[in-house]
């Protein structure tokens, strides 16, 4: 990169940086610090109470010990999470903390010198005292680049971000020609993290070279995939990384305004972005004459209103314009005629979070990770039937097996792995045989799934593949905007066929017509929603066809999940006469004892909620699910 002038920007930033660093050093100087993770996942698990308990305790004992709120470390299975850093000890991470444990940690660790190893998940640095995260099997695969700050800094303090090297890239950018920034991003080979994997640098170049003076950059934070929460976590835990990326993108493409399009369901992320924008403006990192340069840039926050299709760029633009979010045919591309008809770049949250790091550390650093055609790391939200639910960041090219069994620690309760669903409603279900596949943009497409935005739901033997396909179709059908015929009618038709299957109706030839229709919807739909909606059907048909056949031919759900195809039954020789647990648990009073005090389910009343199965004491284990329901013995 050619530096055109030793700008005042660098000098102005130097001052800000010095101040931030000195405040950061002060915070840690010679005293313990307690960090409580209060992202949405932590809050749901009770982090606010834990935070209050620490604050009360520290206040009561008049300790010089700051208690700060941080974002999400990604270990969602162990929320609420607390990190305590005390001089003389490595920073220690505690899991499943509650107010009682909080009180004990203050009493015994902050005041005393017992680090309470019984509550420790791991230390953040290698040491002689406690196992550290580096000793975990998952550490071999994990490589945190864009999640590095998450859970370690206070997202409402811009100085924490700056002290860690933040906004350096912006200062560097302002002293470089915009074309050179575009060139740098192009050379890095960064591909869009929203799902499709379009080269980011090329997108920027198209927009920069498009005629016209007004241009826009939009950050797409409309994370609508059910089961995906990577973007939410980054926005809540490290909002400045996204803002810095946007400012750099704005400079590179020549935009004066940027929009962050954020989901209404993420109130905490909205709040933290608002705070971050205010702070950036105050330090003149945003606004007019940024850092004394001639570059002006502002960011507007736009609240999405809950429409999945608005994740599609043209629909998103329509939504900002105040219209229903329906996509339009392309071309023209967004980079030629986007928001308000002007050239526009739409980038995903994670894509923008990579930008400052690439500018700061250089292309070679970035391409050193990942595969040749998909450099960098991938962030996944692990959920479903997996031990370590949460966020993981691994280099592109890591295999699914490594992610699920080594990083995620496999399937709980000794159950058997059945499939992994990648990419949400647009993705597909992959079976055991695909697990050794290295994950990158191209390899996943070959097996019928897509990278998607990063949701990864693990399914075990209790999950029915026909039902999961039906679930996703129900979602896409509901979210289809109705503009193009294939998507509007095709998804509806496919859903009806699948509904029939899960009820044991339908004929074998319906499978073929479903497959044909799926191909047609894929080919004929206007936008990504319709083009990818058939993926869950096509992949389950490809890998789990026998389950479809069992539903149709035998009226049987092999995973015992489809409600119409199962019945609950109490085994008479196992049922204990003196026990009434199931009778009391039944929500519709369908269970009553017979003359011998053996409990019997009235099948006409039963709503198949499974409460009785959970209520039956394990020593009897008398309640079973049967499929097809005709297997229930007649009296």
């Amino acid at each position: 990169m050619k530096v055109i002038k030793q700008t005042t920007a660098a000098a102005a930033f130097h001052e800000i940086k010095e101040r931030a660093e000195s405040h950061w050093r002060e915070l840690w100087h010679d005293k313990p610090v307690i960090m409580v993770g209060t992202a949405t996942c932590g809050r749901a698990a009770g982090a606010p109470d834990v935070l209050q308990a620490f604050r009360d305790e520290v206040k009561k004992r008049k300790l010089d010990c700051p208690v700060i709120e941080v974002g999400c470390m990604g270990h969602c299975y162990a929320e609420p999470i607390v990190i305590i850093s005390k001089p003389g000890y490595p920073p220690i991470c505690y899991g499943y903390v509650n107010p009682v444990i909080a009180e004990r940690l203050v009493k015994e660790f902050i005041l005393g010198d017992n680090p309470c190893p019984e509550f420790v998940i791991g230390a953040l640095e290698a040491n002689d005292l406690l196992p550290s995260f580096d000793d975990f099997p998952r550490a071999q695969h994990e490589q945190k680049i864009i999640l590095k700050n998450c859970g370690h800094i206070d997202p409402t303090e811009i100085e924490h971000y700056i002290a860690g090297g933040g906004y350096n890239a912006l200062a560097k950018t302002l002293g470089t020609k915009p074309e050179d920034i575009v060139e740098e991003v192009k050379r890095s080979g960064l591909r869009g993290r929203g799902g499709a994997g379009f080269p980011v640098g090329r997108k920027w170049q198209y927009c920069r070279e498009a005629p016209g003076r007004t241009k826009y950059i939009i950050c797409n934070a409309d994370e609508g995939d059910p089961g995906a929460f990577m973007d939410r976590s980054i926005l809540e835990s490290d909002p400045h990384s996204v803002i810095e990326g946007m400012i750099i993108a704005g400079y590179a493409i020549g935009a004066r305004y940027g929009y962050i399009y954020i989901r209404a369901e993420y109130p905490l992320a909205v709040e933290r972005i608002q705070i971050a924008l205010k702070q950036a403006k105050k330090l003149n990192l945003l606004g007019n004459h940024i850092l004394g340069s001639s570059f002006n840039f502002d960011i507007i926050l736009f609240h999405g209103s809950g429409a999945f299709v608005c994740g599609e760029a043209t629909a998103l633009a329509a939504s900002i314009e105040g219209k229903p979010g329906t996509p339009r045919p392309k071309p023209p591309r967004m980079t030629a005629a986007g928001l308000f008809g002007k050239p526009t770049v739409v980038n995903n949250v994670k894509t923008l979070a990579f930008i400052p790091l690439i500018i700061r550390n250089g292309t070679e650093w970035f391409t050193g990770t990942g595969t040749k055609n998909s450099p960098g790391t991938a962030v996944f939200a692990l959920a479903g039937k997996i031990v370590n639910t949460g966020l993981v960041e691994v280099p592109m090219g890591t295999t699914l097996r490594q992610i699920i069994f080594e990083v995620g620690s496999g399937i709980p309760k000794g159950k058997k792995f059945k499939a992994v669903q990648i990419g949400g409603p647009s993705g597909g279900c992959l079976p055991e045989s695909a697990l050794d596949l290295p994950v990158d943009f191209d390899s996943l497409q070959e097996v019928g799934a897509i990278m998607g935005s990063g949701g990864m739901v693990v399914l075990d033997e209790d999950d029915c593949m026909v039902e999961i396909a039906r679930y996703f179709l129900e979602f896409t059908q509901r979210e289809s905007c109705g503009k193009c015929t294939f998507c509007r009618l095709g998804t509806k038709q496919m859903l009806e066929v699948l509904n029939d299957f899960t009820m044991g109706k339908g004929a074998m030839e319906d499978i073929d017509s479903l497959e044909r229709l799926a191909g047609e919807v894929k080919a004929g739909s206007l936008c990504g929603l319709g083009q990818t909606a058939p993926n869950p059907i096509l992949t389950t048909l490809r890998y789990f066809r026998d389950e479809y056949e069992a539903h149709i031919e035998l009226g049987k759900c092999p995973a015992l999940m489809c409600q119409h195809l199962i019945a609950y039954y109490i085994l008479p020789d196992k049922c204990e006469r003196s026990c009434d647990a199931c009778v009391g648990s039944c929500t519709v009073e369908a269970i009553s004892p017979n003359k011998k005090r053996i409990k019997v389910i009235d099948q006409t009343q039963c709503v198949k909620c499974g409460t009785c199965l959970a209520a039956c004491p394990p020593q009897y284990n008398a309640i079973v699910k049967l499929s097809p329901p005709s297997e229930v013995p007649a009296k």
Binding site: P226, A264, G322, K323, A381, A383, G455, T587, C609
Partner: protein, 178 residues
């Protein structure tokens, strides 16, 4: 989405007009303001009554059908007045696989309404939500904006029982003080 079952009273209509007017004064008369206006009005009133939609259409000088079109397109907007307690059942992938649909059935059975409706006494409204990101606590129901983990049919009864108890004590206190 169905229109409101409960009729609004004359006073309510007056209040709606007045409050919508106040919010509108803070916006310019441009089309891109439509969604932010709707969000603000719903934030204030809890839903988007007919009177509010007409007032917004007049203010922006666009056909009322355009406002209605946007309102019915997005999941966030509702046409029914909210209940005193809001019940939102998460139907994200993980909640679904762990039985969120069974929980929804239980809520429907107990409240006697379908999603996006309000009970006749305006005590509860029921809705579904695509994912609240607390997948580790599935199946989740958001009760009055607080996510409750592992809400299975018995827990549904438990939550309703707690509300019923709360109401009874309040009624009792009221009748005693009368």
């Amino acid at each position: 989405m169905t229109a409101s079952k409960q009729e609004t009273t004359t006073e309510e209509r007056e209040q709606i007009k007045q409050e919508t007017g106040q919010i509108l004064n803070g916006f310019s008369r441009k089309r891109p303001g439509l969604i932010p206006i709707l969000q603000k009005v719903q934030g204030k009133l809890g839903y988007l009554p007919r009177e509010a939609m007409t007032a917004i259409a007049e203010y922006l000088d666009i056909p009322a059908i355009d406002v209605y079109g946007v309102v019915t397109f997005y999941n966030q907007f509702r046409l029914n007045p909210p209940g005193r307690h809001s019940i939102k059942v998460c139907l994200g992938t993980v909640c679904h696989m762990k039985g969120g649909y069974i929980t929804l059935d239980a809520w429907k059975r107990r409240l006697g309404i379908s999603p996006r409706e309000t009970t006749d006494d305006r005590e509860f409204d029921l809705d579904t939500v695509a994912c609240v990101g607390c997948c580790t606590m599935a199946p989740v129901t958001v009760v009055d904006d607080k996510p409750e983990g592992v809400v299975e049919p018995t827990r549904v009864d438990g939550i309703l029982l707690a509300f019923g108890y709360e109401r009874e004590t309040k009624d009792k206190e009221k009748s005693e003080s009368d």
